[in-house]
Amino acid sequence: MREPASHRLALLGALAVVIVLMPLIFPSAYYYRVGALVFIFALAAVGLNLLMGFAGQVSLGHAGFLGIGGYAMAIGPVHLGVPPWASLLAGAVISAVVAFIVGRPILRLKGHYLAVATLGLGVLIAIVLTNEASWTGGPDGMSVPRLVLFDWAVRGSQQWYWISAATFLVGAILAFNVIDSPTGRALRAIHDSEVAASVLGVDVARGKLAIFVISAVYASVAGSYLALINGHVTPDIAGFLRSIELAAMVVLGGMGSILGSLVGAAVLVVLPQTLTILHDYEHLVLGLILMGVMIFLRQGIVPSLAAAVSGRQT
């Protein structure tokens, strides 16, 4: 299901090559923007995949952390005079703290109950962002100042393509690291049998909390990037549909597959853009495609295709 350790370096290398070569076939600057969005959502999906695919804990509220990261980029510079780079860090820290505090009670829940509790968390954050209009601008949202790094103002889709691709690669490397570490083994054990993990000395509650916090930070950074590339942020970033979209990326691409999260993000970012040519039938066709993928590639796109390929070889 997950990528074998021996293949990971090759996989990361191949990804880097693809990232560099892709722009050669981009017909216009617009494609850089789509590419950047793919990597930004893939970053959030990788974090969520650590929680869902490896530790086996569902979250239907992760867009809440996208929201915290996104609004940090607006509220920090506009209201508090904090520079954007520091706002990004602050957003990540706030997301981590929120995840830590909320995670403690709700991660005791399992399955559907955890799903509903996390859903509530996401909705709650979205409501706060909508209602605290004096800080957040209410439903209309806020504009987000440009990121300035050492006198270099980051502007244009092209630069965001490279920044988000590089950040995604870092996120993927960190995820690969954790999978094959004592922490990662403990989390994967929790996924299969909490009872067995606990009698072997794994602190189940603490393990779940740690990965919940980490996945919240991934989402927060992705949210900050999203706000920066768009130049504005609205409460939709933290909305219920965004949370579902993130979870769908993880499941569609393949639970427990880091490459799968990238593929899942690519499909769900690119497909709606492509299907606009179908006008009224856009959502209908998108829905049918998602259903078809899950029926015929039920382990998700990457693991199912990988199994088919290795099955043919043997």
Binding site: L174, N177, V178, R188, A189, S193, A196, L200, V204
Partner: protein, 268 residues
């Protein structure tokens, strides 16, 4: 001094006293078996010992310390490990990864180091892998190291659970029906495995229905029936105990001598 002891332990589920005032003392370095008819409370007792249930009355003393009410992972870190009657395998992990989780309580890294894959993590992974390999070899699974657990046959999974528990280097190992579903050859192998575990200095507490295995390996036997202690003693003592024979076979009107003989045969 005993390594593991129960003092007047009780727990009830919905009015049924699953364990009722059970006291026992387990000496270090022995095979201590707990037997009894179905529903006697053997697995419940294991769940109390390993912290999965909290007793309503009584105390559990482990290694000279009152550990009543501690969480399973806290008990594991003190050196108490167990296997399960219904397998609790990490099916998405390979055989060796399963066993590596058993080493968890000895691993000295933290989340941040793990994320960054610091050299200390690489060293820890190598140490853990070595320890896990020797635990796999101890139960005869060295050739299945990198196979996915879900691809292993039932008998191998039984042994995998033992290897995983051994990797935690426990002082006391609770084995819950390790021979269930095993054929006679596998059971014989299991006997050798249990002997080697005890030889290495681990105290084994065994719940088992296969009386031949119990009688062969046990130093001491405690008999439970309906949640209560029925008898305790050496293999020979328990075998002769009329109350034990009665609990296993029930009473009927056959002449006493014949009855006892039949029962003794059933008990191994």
């Amino acid at each position: 001094m005993s390594i593991l002891a129960a003092e007047r332990l009780s727990i009830a589920f919905g009015g049924i006293r699953a364990i009722d005032q059970v006291s026992l003392r387990i000496q270090p370095g022995v095979v201590f078996s707990i037997i009894g008819p179905n529903g006697a409370g053997k697995t419940t007792l294991f769940n109390l010992f390993s912290g999965l249930y909290r007793p309503q009355e009584g105390r559990i003393i482990f290694d000279g310390e009152d550990v009543t009410g501690l969480a399973p992972h806290q008990l594991a870190r003190r050196g108490l490990s167990r296997t399960f009657q219904n397998l609790q395998i990490f099916y998405r992990m390979t055989a060796i990864e399963n066993v590596m989780v058993g080493c968890h309580r000895h691993e000295r890294t933290n989340v941040v180091a793990d994320l960054l894959h610091l050299p200390s993590v690489a060293r820890q992974n190598r140490r853990t892998r070595l320890a896990a390999q020797s635990a796999l070899a101890q139960v005869g699974l060295q050739s299945d190291t990198d196979r996915l657990a879900s691809a292993l046959p039932y008998g191998a999974l039984k042994r995998l659970e033992i290897a995983r528990a051994l990797a935690s280097e426990p002082k006391v190992l609770l084995l819950d029906e390790p021979a269930a579903g095993c054929n006679p050859v596998e059971t014989k192998e299991l006997e050798g495995v249990i002997r080697s575990i005890v030889k290495a200095g681990v105290t084994v507490v065994l719940v088992e229905h296969d009386m031949r295995l119990v009688m062969n390996v046990s130093d001491h036997i405690h008999v439970l029936a309906n949640g209560r202690s029925l008898a305790e003693g050496t293999v020979a003592e328990v075998r002769r105990n009329p109350r034990v024979i009665e609990a296993y076979l029930g009473t009927h009107d056959a002449p006493e001598g014949q009855d006892t003989e039949e029962a003794a045969r059933a008990l191994g």
